[in-house]
Symmetry: C2
Subunit: 357 residues, 2 copies
């Protein structure tokens, strides 16, 4: 068991987007200071952090400088290059650990890991060429979805295959990247569990939220989700199994499909998750603070839900509705400090708070 | 009516303590960036702000530099020197306005203003020498309390007078500063109202909180406060009368004594107030965001209370209880990032959240 980081310690965060920004604020609430490492200039997290390093992940000197000034390193996104992680890990602990990153950076590794610990996923098969794809389609069947194995998020790097004839076009859309074919799953709705594991191995999960996507991007998360008591328990146990199997420290997001045959794992994210933003206005300890607690070796906090919440993402020009949103009753607005509202860009979110049902 | 500051604008905050820190976080949530001006090095607010100016209030060049980089100026404490305000106001709007500062920087001006708008205060009299004090005691009676007219807070610059014989000692304790004698008020408890007024003149008040002090420093604030419905309404109307009379923009704290004859104004603070920290975990829009909304010309937000809260200040070595506090259910911890826990120093606070009664 590691000694907790004393107040005043510095937490290094890889990535300066909105997740890093909200992690930095949560860390401050616990008395920690944050340093941000981000290749892009003027990152949202830099506005609320003590120090910001603007340098690419290939800059060994900047990485060393960053690591030397922090006590522990965490990240807001899972696609940190391996070479950078090697350099950083030689200097300071990285939490969550490398295994969590390796598993979640690669869809095949992820599904293989999940199946290996007894969890259900969509049927899948690796695809490197048209022969692979034809064979995979013959086994899994259409409709199916072809995805790049790495660096996919928010619906990017994906192609639907409605019938075998779509195969060549879908493969071309991968632009030569190695891919995975996933069988289409019939599900009634998607939920996610945000769960945390501390350095002492204790686990805590938030109530599952129900997610609605639009154009491949999360649109809303609603708590409580439509789940039976048994499904709710199952969701929490699935998350705990993943956390324990990875010897994980921090917050993890698990997306689950609700099917007539039970819950099926869609994907995992080794970080705070967009579908957990509702916790900012529904719990004494939100997902950002919970992650910082875990990473800092503090005890996990009380994530019990005291309100019903609907989180709505503000994507692109959704943010033009701000004047109305600011006037809404029982509505908390969270903006990310991004200068330009591009289509598909997450500009902020609102949490609509209602008495607990 | 002023145009609202667009997201991305910069709010300048005079003072870098915990109030400036929590204002900065609230401003970020609304998409604003903050610059902090603070004479002391490494201020708590600097850890969560885009830029920090470390310079005395007598440094005209630094003040000009600070003002040039911000769109509007606000403050976390009322004792900003007048000369600095003159320089700053020539460059950028200061909200709340100078009149609010003038009134609250001087106890005599404050009580004269409050009496002038028909509000009840303790009986008071200016005291510059022993003759003044003797005359004041003859009129007001003992016990009474002698206070410096300026720069007093958290019980500093005060001396109790139990009987006329205490007068010379009490006067000596003022160290030559001009003072005010206040009659002792018999009250059952103290409450405070945190209220806001927008640039459009709209007013919103939070539910009053009940305050308990220890050694002259706020120890706890409890909502709901013990007040009849009529008293609760009276408290809100008192706050509104003050805000309107000052043509105020921002959040104001009003401390009230509950007496058998009704509510009596103890003092006002033209800023966010320690007794309003409970709003962080009891309302969709907390006092810090409400202040930023007002200062930025945005509509005031919904400050309706959705939970019962007890706020407890962590003073000095209270912060040693952190390991236990972090384990408490339904308890939100807020630390201020101060390196050293000196006696009497506010290190943080906790909000204990309960279902609304």
């Amino acid at each position: 068991m590691t000694t907790p980081l004393p107040p005043g310690s510095v937490i290094g965060i890889l990535g300066g987007g909105q997740l890093g920004r909200m992690l930095s604020v949560a860390a401050a609430r616990l008395g920690y200071r944050c340093h941000i490492y981000e290749p892009a200039a003027n990152p949202p997290a830099g506005q609320v952090a003590e120090k910001t390093f603007t340098a690419p992940y290939e800059d060994a000197a900047a990485l060393a400088d960053f690591a030397a000034g922090v006590d522990v390193i965490t990240y807001e996104f899972e696609n940190v290059p391996t070479a950078a992680l090697d350099l950083l890990e030689a200097a300071r602990p990285i939490r969550p650990n490398r295994r969590a990153l390796a598993v979640s950076q690669d869809r095949i590794a992820e599904k293989t890991f999940l199946s290996g610990i007894g969890l259900r996923t969509a049927p899948f098969a690796p695809v490197n060429d048209l022969a692979d794809l034809d064979a995979a389609l013959a086994r899994i069947g259409a409709p199916a979805i072809l995805k790049t194995t790495r660096l996919g998020y928010d619906g990017k790097g994906q192609a639907r295959i409605k019938a075998a004839g779509d195969a060549p076009g879908a493969l071309a859309a991968m632009q030569g990247a190695s891919a995975v074919l996933e069988g289409f799953v019939t599900f009634s709705h998607e939920v996610s569990v945000i769960a945390a594991r501390g350095v002492d191995g204790s686990v805590a999960a938030y109530d599952p939220g129900e997610n609605v996507h639009r154009d491949g991007i999360l649109a809303t998360t609603t708590v409580p989700a439509r789940l039976t008591a048994a499904q709710q328990q199952d969701a929490v146990l699935i998350a705990a199994r993943i956390l324990n199997a990875l010897d994980y420290v921090g917050v993890l997001g698990v997306e689950l499909f609700v099917t007539p045959q039970g819950l099926l794992v869609n994907e995992i994210a080794p970080r705070v998750h967009n579908s957990g933003h509702w916790t900012q206005n529904g719990c004494a300890v939100d997902q950002f603070e919970q992650h910082i607690r875990a990473v800092a070796g503090l005890p996990l906090g009380d994530g019990g839900r005291y309100a019903d919440v609907v989180m709505e993402n503000l994507i692109g020009e959704d943010v033009d509705r701000l004047p109305d949103l600011l006037r809404e009753a029982r509505t908390a607005v969270h903006l990310y400090g991004k200068a330009e509202a591009r289509p598909g860009r997450k500009m902020g979110h609102v949490n609509r708070i209602r008495p607990r049902s």
